[in-house]
Symmetry: D2
């Protein structure tokens, strides 16, 4: 049985680095995102990866996409939940929709994906469920109300999953990304920053992969990732 | 101008103890809950408190209820967000509706109430926004997925609010209740527990009141409340 | 039996405010510090408080001073551990003596005082052991190595004490002071800061007293204290 | 220039696994411990590793041992601080010496080793300082007073070091070991536990090595390590 890895949240940055990494490691990679354009672009660049349209704010789509993955590629052994949406505003400036969308993408989508993928993960001797989080999960700033509260909820949910699933030999990990990923988009937003300011997306993929490789007598639930030069 | 306190989430336990306490301290108390029966019962017992029907999962109702409170009683000086809903299940056993309802009552409702009440709080020299949380905010257990993730989000949101509003002289506090409130309902659920196992609702009201009395040169954002005899 | 409160770490600031507060509340107050000058000055200003020379880095002095307090005033019902020493340097710039002194004053002194006072606390139906900590306990900055690590150790020790002693009806509390106390000395060090920047020592004494007054069905172990206008 | 790794705290368990791992990776390994017997035994088994007698409670010995390592092997590029001592007692049952020894081995020794090794680490383009900690650093239990407070201090100190040294391209990492290492000694103490209860020392060495391999655009300061089946 080929090893199947489903990556939810594709596109420039972590998503693409994760696709590349799991392809390189010999996995059958399923890519999930709501944008068909992104998927066809990624399928062209990563011939061995297969795209599945999926809007994570719609639990039905998550359920169906994971069902199709099992049918077409086999049961998922590693799920990486990399979907994210960030609204950076104060509570006052945020709309109800800002809160709702941010929570659905970061938190509810993870819960629904976990529910949908669990029967597949259980078909393997050992399986992984990795979540790319953010340091906003640790604290709420004045102007990060929707994002930070959704990430705090996501981290708590990942912890619940880790506690439930560890004894079933399913490794749940939460990666606290404390910095800005190096992307054309973030470079444009922060033109004065040096190279060293940014986290390379490959460093995130490396860390996810390292967790997937850990011996189960010493699993990591949570680790932080931060550029060497940044104050924190 | 009379001091007005709005308490969201009324009923046996913390809610009633808070109503009683703020009435005793000479506040005009507005009581908000979705149940008309609870409100009329509470209005009979606390003659100086006024009831307003409000379902916290509906931001429109929150907005309208707080508008009516200002019209009828004057601008709110202290808001206590005591609404809570707990679904204690694993992620696997929880439905999408379980996650959604729990998050709406604990987190989104707080955000919407804060947005709606802020203009009123700002009409006072000093104002308070107090939130009754739970130790589930600090960690997600296997079988507390919807509740713990919603409480973690609530705590993060309260932190964002505290950081934004402190400099405006609005004191935001988060009370981490680590235990079970003494109620007929909880006594029935836990018949073998001694008296000392339970937190008295008055102890919660005391702690909320103590935060409201703090000198602004030394405000508390977060404190825990726990029965003396409990292991933690 | 008169209520006896022993305050370790006297002098301008929290120490004096605590002495004043417990005198006002009708306690017999024992003041402990290593400086005889401070003690005689304080005894003149607070006629009902009694001074005991005690260097907290010497466990023998702690033991003897607490023994004398029991003999002269009766068994201590409330101990406030307010001794503190701060070395604010990087690890590299700190000497072994910097680390050792800071840890002895903040951490070991608390352990030795707790050991010495426990038999006295146990002679009361209910007793208190309060510790004035600092937000440095939550994180180590580059240039707070000796202080932050000692405060982290102090907080952990207070937590161990709280867990052990709660069931014996002895309330252990830890106050995380997140700011600078308003003192002639700190005003001189920070001449550009506004009044609002500083924490009033009375706010700390109020918070300690509030914890001592809590009903045991809802005890607080930890709370933070911060000026309303400060970013955090 | 050969890469030199100094491992402080050798013996069965993590220490030996770390020696083996860094030897396998081609490092010149310096082993530091106070026991000459352990060192000669380890030197026989790991022919390419060199032993240096060093009691970490004596800063002079630390300084001299690291000086000799530089002279004999070259400047240290990776230091692993694996010295540990655990006294598991309540505060009441612990002596002053229990607190002092535990703090000296876990905390002060790390500070003194960091001071002594820094000039050597700075001779490399990139260097590492890894600390094996424990989940006791996160909380103080009733009967872990000396150990937990020392580990909390150690973690805080490692954080201060990480914040200071990151910008100099020195990676400081803290590994929170949450479980019992599989050793003849621990098996004897816990005869009823299954194999899965224990952490393999190699899993700790793997995690240390993985941190040393991270790209500096995404460094981890802290991670936890826990057997898959354990509740937490």
């Amino acid at each position: 049985m080929d090893k199947v890895c489903a990556i939810i949240g594709i596109g420039p940055g972590n998503g693409e680095a994760l696709v590349r990494r799991f392809c390189d490691e010999g996995y059958q990679v399923a890519m999930l995102t709501r944008s068909e354009d992104t998927l066809s672009d990624m399928e062209q660049r990563y011939g061995s990866a297969t795209g599945f349209v999926c809007d994570v704010t719609d639990s039905d789509q998550i359920h169906k996409a994971l069902g199709r993955i099992e049918d077409e590629l086999g049961p998922v052994q590693t799920l990486v939940y990399n979907a994210g949406a960030g609204v950076f505003k104060t509570t006052e400036d945020s709309t109800e929709a800002d809160f709702e969308h941010t929570w659905k993408v970061n938190t509810l989508g993870l819960a629904m994906a976990a529910k949908a993928v669990l029967p597949q993960l259980r078909k393997h001797d050992q399986a992984n469920l990795m979540v790319t989080g953010a340091s906003a999960a640790w604290r709420g700033r004045a102007n990060t109300a929707p994002f930070a509260s959704a990430k705090a909820a996501q981290r708590s949910l990942a912890q619940s999953l880790a506690r439930q699933l560890g004894p079933e030999n399913i490794h749940v990990g939460y990666l606290v990304i404390d910095g800005v990923i190096d992307l054309p988009r973030t470079r444009k937003m922060l033109p004065d920053k040096q190279d060293d300011f940014f986290i390379q997306a490959d460093a995130v993929a490396d860390a996810v992969w390292a967790l997937c490789q850990q011996h189960r007598s010493g699993w990591t639930f949570e680790l932080d990732l931060r550029p060497f030069g940044e104050s924190w």
